[in-house]
């Protein structure tokens, strides 16, 4: 960008891997945008991608992203829209090669420069790091990583906006990253477009808050919004949120005209508190945002202004997301009908547990829920109603174990209950539940100086 624009529009296109396939296309065609930001990596997602890469070394990235790019690349190239996405997962280079291949197929060779951000992968360095005293303690339990070292499948540091900025400055139009923070994918474009310094802490915090608001897609524009949910118009054609930012760090949350959904203070507030910890210190690799300084104002229809955001200097640590093999789990379900639906399901659960016990199977956990009665609100749900009137209840029993045989045997103990347990039971059409491998998550911190982000450019 030669002359700096007064406002820069960053559109949220995907809130997680599996989000609405129409959204990115609608964001780049529904009105003017400068950047399209797509977040693919939930904590759980890294584990899934790692599983895929362990089966096939050319995979390990969000394949949906490549299909999305095939659909939007002609528009993106024609309009000069830049894209930032952490779709690279645990294999960003393979993801970029796949997008380059698509670009060539679309006749866009030599019209597209891809940026690849890596350096987040610590798997090959773990033993060296541990030997040098980086014990990667679990942030929740305090245990050292050594406890599960032999079962670790992946380890990725969360990178911030800096390598995204570098890729954009070196001319990348589509920046594909590994484990870059969700917020860094929005902050990076704003730092690049406005020339914000990495230590302009209030600006960094503002861009981080902007990223937090749009990183979950339509959750900022009417989706999953409890406030007056019945009056939110046309969610079928919901417009995903767009940050319209100014160089001073203030920004508006908007959406394309003619789209469904709603952008109001109540909905943006809901998204601000989503997955929040201590609001005074929302820590990212780029800085620390203070959410108690955020001011919101409805300045137009579907337009919320965000101002006043203050920040503090970044810490000297990076968060590390580690995936390790835990064991196995399975969930079995049956449905019981009125009368006494809940009592029947409870009786079936007791029988099932007695049988598992008699078989001497070892489980780390057995969890029973009665869907329709207590699965979401626990005992609170049954305080206000007469349980005998519940029309139907799904018995849902899950088990978890290091022992695959125990989980496998559990999956064979559900169906017999249809004929040899309490009456009025149905809903076993799906067949025997399948044991699933559990790849668990181990959050830790590492000294920032131990991680060197790497930026590479690829011409399509």
């Amino acid at each position: 960008m030669s002359a700096r624009a007064a406002t820069v529009r960053v559109a949220g296109g995907q809130g997680f891997w599996g989000d609405w396939l129409e959204a990115p296309y609608r964001q780049v065609t529904g009105g003017p945008v400068d950047y399209l930001m797509m977040d693919y990596l939930a904590e759980v997602t890294m584990s899934i991608l790692q599983k895929q890469k362990s089966r096939d070394a050319t995979r390990g990235y969000a394949t949906d992203f490549v299909d999305q790019m095939e659909r939007i690349l002609p528009t993106v190239v024609e309009r000069g829209i830049k894209v930032t996405a952490n779709a690279g997962g645990v294999n960003p280079r393979a993801c970029a090669m796949a997008v380059a291949e698509v670009a060539r197929r679309l006749g866009l060779a030599r019209k597209l420069t891809l940026g690849v951000v890596s350096g987040d992968d610590l798997l090959g360095r773990l033993d060296g790091l541990i030997a040098r005293g980086h014990d990667l303690k679990n942030l929740d339990t305090g245990r050292p990583l050594q406890d599960v070292r032999d079962r670790v499948l992946s380890a990725n540091a969360y990178l911030g906006a800096a390598p995204v900025v570098e890729a954009l400055q070196r001319g990348a139009q589509v920046v594909i990253t590994g484990r870059v923070t969700d917020t860094g994918l929005t902050l990076g474009p704003l730092m690049h477009a406005f020339g914000w310094a990495p230590d302009a802490w209030d600006r960094i915090a503002a861009g981080t808050v902007a990223g937090h608001i749009i990183e979950c897609g339509a959750q900022a524009s009417g989706g999953n919004c409890l406030s007056d949910w019945k009056t939110i118009p046309n969610l079928a054609a919901v417009g995903y949120p767009i940050v319209e930012a100014r160089a001073d760090g203030t920004f508006d949350i908007v959406k394309h005209p003619g789209t469904g959904g709603r952008i109001d203070v109540a909905g943006v507030t809901e998204q601000l508190v989503y997955e929040m910890g201590d609001p005074r210190s929302y820590i990212t690799p780029d800085g620390v945002a203070d959410f108690t300084t955020i001011q919101l104002a409805q300045v137009g229809k579907d337009r919320v202004r965000v101002s006043g955001v203050q920040g503090k200097p970044a810490t000297d640590k990076l968060k590390v997301s580690i995936a390790y093999f835990y064991g196995y789990k399975a969930v079995g379900t049956l449905v019981y009908a009125w009368p006494d639906a809940l009592e029947k399901a409870q009786a079936a659960d007791a029988i099932l547990r007695q049988r598992l016990d008699a078989l001497g199977l070892e489980f780390d956990a057995i969890l029973t829920e009665f869907v329709g009665a207590n699965a979401t609100h626990g005992p609170l749900a049954l305080q206000d109603i007469d349980a005998a009137t519940i029309p139907e209840v799904q018995l849902r029993v899950g088990v978890r174990s290091r022992d695959k045989n125990a989980v496998d045997r559990f999956t064979r103990e559900i169906a017999p209950l249809i004929l040899n347990g309490p009456p009025s039971v149905t809903g076993f059409a799906g067949g025997r539940p399948k044991p699933e491998e559990i790849v668990a998550y181990w959050p830790a911190l590492i000294d920032k100086k131990m991680v060197e982000p790497l930026v590479e450019l690829i011409e399509a």
Binding site: D140, L272, T376, G378, I438, A440, Y441
Partner: protein, 105 residues
């Protein structure tokens, strides 16, 4: 008289590992002090008795007329380990809205 929080507030919740967060937001700014006074961390811990294994922390966001609660040990281990339907703590939000508080007539 007693009123359920659902009449006075809305909420959204999410997860970080085995911790669920609930952001509780006053529908009207004038009701925010009521939430601050009555929806204490101790009260919320009692409300969720039997559903969470760890402590409850509370943070205030007067600028957003919101309180943020961290419910530790709420998700059966969380993430991929959890056997819960609500493994990611998405509906602890409305479970909190069942709580009753005292309001002036």
């Amino acid at each position: 008289m007693k009123r359920k929080l659902v009449a006075l507030a809305h909420a959204r919740s999410g997860d970080k590992g085995d911790t669920a967060n609930v952001g509780l937001i006053a529908k009207k700014a004038k009701d925010y002090p009521l939430l601050v006074k009555q929806v204490t961390a101790a009260r919320v811990a009692r409300h969720f008795k039997g559903m969470i294994r760890g402590p409850v922390e509370r943070f205030e966001l007067p600028n957003l007329h919101a309180l943020n609660f961290l419910l530790h040990g709420a998700l059966d281990g969380g993430g991929t380990i959890s056997l819960k339907t609500d493994a990611q703590g998405k509906v602890f939000s409305t479970a909190l809205l069942r709580m009753e508080i005292e309001v002036k007539r």
